[in-house]
């Protein structure tokens, strides 16, 4: 189902209250957050919301006309089930505007216990086709689906056109090369994955070591990369390391880049995409401010005059400054590797 009113909602990340307020102040239509535990996919130390901060944040957003979404998008196992169930109840009582869920069991519970609460399918639900979105719509009445970053623009158009509910796509931020919800690389090495723990390549497993060859980055003792003195060393996210395949040493899976689809706004709009999501609940309030401001301007500009829309040089420069690895790409939307 295409978005009928032709305006795309800007959905911005908040890992803490200052980020939430800055996102609202700079024009986010909606802000998404998570609780301070493993029920969401940005389970990092010092991040996310306790009850008091969540209440304050939701009130702040609602007073200023922005919506608040809450992500409960990891997969509970029986020993932790109660925590996910409590998170759903807590969010409903707080009055969030939508829950972003991935697990079928959690969705089943939320739909039964809180039938009036709006549910969105998280990107962690790995729905890459209208047919899989239909499953969640038919059974749980979801109102929106966030689609994985692996789809091309053409595929997004097809899904948007045929999906029973509007879709939300990623516009900017860190790029996952693997399909979200279907990557176990992190738990293979550390025991903790986005699905089970809400973190990929968790900081507790990271080791940095200065050696003669350069700065080694390891994850639970596995060498992810070794950076020569003149190279900048990035965080050892597993899929962004350099490895050997038949004696060739290279980024065998992914080079460290960020996603930026600003150039595609009119096409996404035309395709009927309902909302653009900005990645980065783990990033600083300064990042949230910059990205929200620039994307607000871009969306407004494309809305007013889609035919003559062009991303402004200063917008791209501003985004370049805050992106990881300082490189931006259209990701899978445009597939140079296809």
């Amino acid at each position: 189902m295409s978005n009928t009113n032709n305006t795309m909602e800007l959905v911005c990340p908040a890992g803490n209250l200052p980020s939430l307020k800055i996102a609202v102040d700079n024009g986010a239509d909606a802000v998404y957050m998570g609780f301070k535990d493993d029920t969401n996919a940005r389970h990092f130390a010092g991040l996310n919301f306790n009850d008091k901060r969540a209440r304050e944040g939701i009130a702040y957003a609602h007073q200023r006309g922005s919506k608040m979404f809450l992500a409960i998008n990891t997969y509970p196992q029986p020993s932790g089930w109660q925590r996910w169930q409590d998170a759903v109840d807590h969010a409903a009582e707080l009055g969030v505007d939508a829950l972003i869920l991935a697990d079928i069991g959690v969705m089943d519970y939320a739909a039964e216990r809180w039938p009036d609460l709006r549910l969105h399918l998280s990107v962690q639900g790995s729905a890459t086709s209208q047919e899989s979105i239909e499953f969640y719509h038919r059974n749980f009445g979801i109102k929106r689906a966030v689609v994985p970053r692996v789809l091309s623009l053409k595929q997004i158009k097809t899904v948007a056109e045929n999906s029973p509910v509007p879709i939300e796509v990623f516009g900017f931020g860190s790029l996952c090369v693997m399909v979200e919800g279907r990557c176990l690389l992190s738990s293979y090495v550390t025991g903790q994955s986005p699905n089970t723990f809400g973190a990929c390549s968790p900081a507790s497993a990271v080791q940095w070591k200065d050696t003669e060859a350069g700065l080694e980055t390891r994850l639970n003792n596995v060498l992810i990369d070794c950076h020569a003195k003149d190279e900048s060393a990035g965080y050892p996210t597993l899929c962004k390391g350099r490895f050997n395949v038949n004696k060739n040493t290279y980024h065998a899976m992914e080079e460290p880049t960020s996603l930026n689809t600003m150039a595609l706004i009119p096409e996404l709009q035309k395709a009927g995409v309902a909302a653009i999501k900005i990645e980065g609940r783990q990033r600083s309030p300064a990042y949230v401010e910059q990205v929200t401001k620039v994307w607000r301007a871009a969306l407004d500009s494309a809305q007013q005059d889609p035919d003559n829309y062009q991303p402004k040089a200063e917008w791209l420069q501003a985004l370049e400054k805050v992106s990881e690895g300082s490189q931006t790409t259209l990701g899978a939307y445009h597939r140079p590797w296809q």
Binding site: Q77, S79, I104, S132, F135, R182, Y188, A332
Partner: protein
């Protein structure tokens, strides 16, 4: 119905699980495939999963080829399940999936929620390891849609399976991935094409050159992962042979072996012999270690990092 205790837990009675052979995750040529399944038909394997689950461009086998193999296996007394694609992106892939799901002769293994949706309420189905069933509520919900067997996700532990099985529906069988390189991730990108500096659309199906995938090692030359087109696997082979007795007691119904280019038949025989008390576990364990392409691991099952190998010494003693 299984008896229920006062606490509501089902009593598990020890039984001998069946053995299954998972779908071939690599791209093998036609002749190799026909030969391979000819030999599989002569083994004691109970269930065979057939079909392409990784990449829709791998079309060396047509539907009628798979069905020909299916009939042969069925005539040898095997249960045949048709496996489907894990990452559904293009409309053509969806179309192909729909046509497989229309078949009524064989059970389908769904590896994407699109397949689950197509089969729900129409015919009973199996879910593969890429369908995230992490808790009993999910399992029960899917059971109402027609799920009759599920493959336990590979990153979860025996503790989690024990907890789920306490609340499982009666009519659903549990299958555990016990041997083979672990399917760890899926991407839209083809890492085999990337290695050959080819575009995905012009990949020339080079993955056919690597019948066990392309080994990716760390810069210290430790075997780490395996590139298999759009799929990434573990370099180590999961091996849960030392946990057979434990799985019997837990009520696991089926043990899955994932094919590799060499020695799969021997691996099936080793598992079969152990299940029927004809081979001691410690002997099987070292034989399987030698037959794995690099080495083995069992960390996920024991609640740790998947790549870890938990010492089975204590388990071996209790088995003997």
């Amino acid at each position: 119905m299984a008896p229920i205790t006062a606490r509501g837990n089902k009593i598990m009675t020890t039984h001998t699980p069946k053995l299954s052979l998972g779908p071939i995750l690599y791209y093998w040529d036609r002749e190799t495939l026909f030969d391979f399944y000819e030999k599989v038909a002569e083994t004691d394997i109970d269930i065979v999963y057939l079909g392409e689950t990784v990449c829709s461009k791998r079309r060396i086998m047509r539907d009628k080829d798979w069905l020909e193999i299916a009939i042969k296996l069925k005539n040898s007394g095997k249960e045949v399940v048709l496996s489907t694609l894990t990452l559904i992106e293009a409309n053509s892939e969806l179309g192909k999936l729909k046509s497989i799901c229309k078949n009524e002769e064989y059970t389908i293994e769904a590896n994407d929620m699109a397949a689950v949706n197509l089969l729900s309420g129409k015919q009973t189905f199996v879910t593969g390891p890429a369908i995230n069933i992490y808790n009993a509520r999910t399992l029960n919900m899917l059971s109402k849609q027609g799920l009759r067997r599920w493959v336990f996700p590979v990153e979860l532990s025996r503790e989690t399976l024990t907890d789920i099985l306490e609340q499982r529906p009666d009519n659903v069988e549990t299958e555990v991935f016990v041997y083979g390189r672990l399917p760890l991730a899926f991407s839209a990108r083809c890492f085999t094409a990337r290695y050959h500096n080819l575009q995905k659309d012009d990949c020339q199906l080079r993955c056919i050159e690597d019948p066990d995938g392309l080994l990716m090692s760390t810069r210290e030359e430790d075997p780490f992962l395996v590139i298999n087109g759009i799929q990434t696997q573990s370099a180590k082979s999961c091996n849960l042979i030392a946990d057979l007795d434990d799985m019997k007691k837990m009520g696991v119904d089926i043990l899955r072996i994932s094919p590799q280019s060499k020695d799969t038949i021997d691996i099936i025989n080793i598992y079969h012999d152990c299940l029927h008390g004809k081979k001691p576990i410690h002997e099987a364990s070292s034989e399987l270690e030698a037959l794995s392409p690099t080495s083995t691991c069992n960390g996920y099952w024991h609640g740790g990092a998947g790549m870890e190998s938990v010492n089975q010494h204590l388990n071996e003693k209790s088995v003997e």
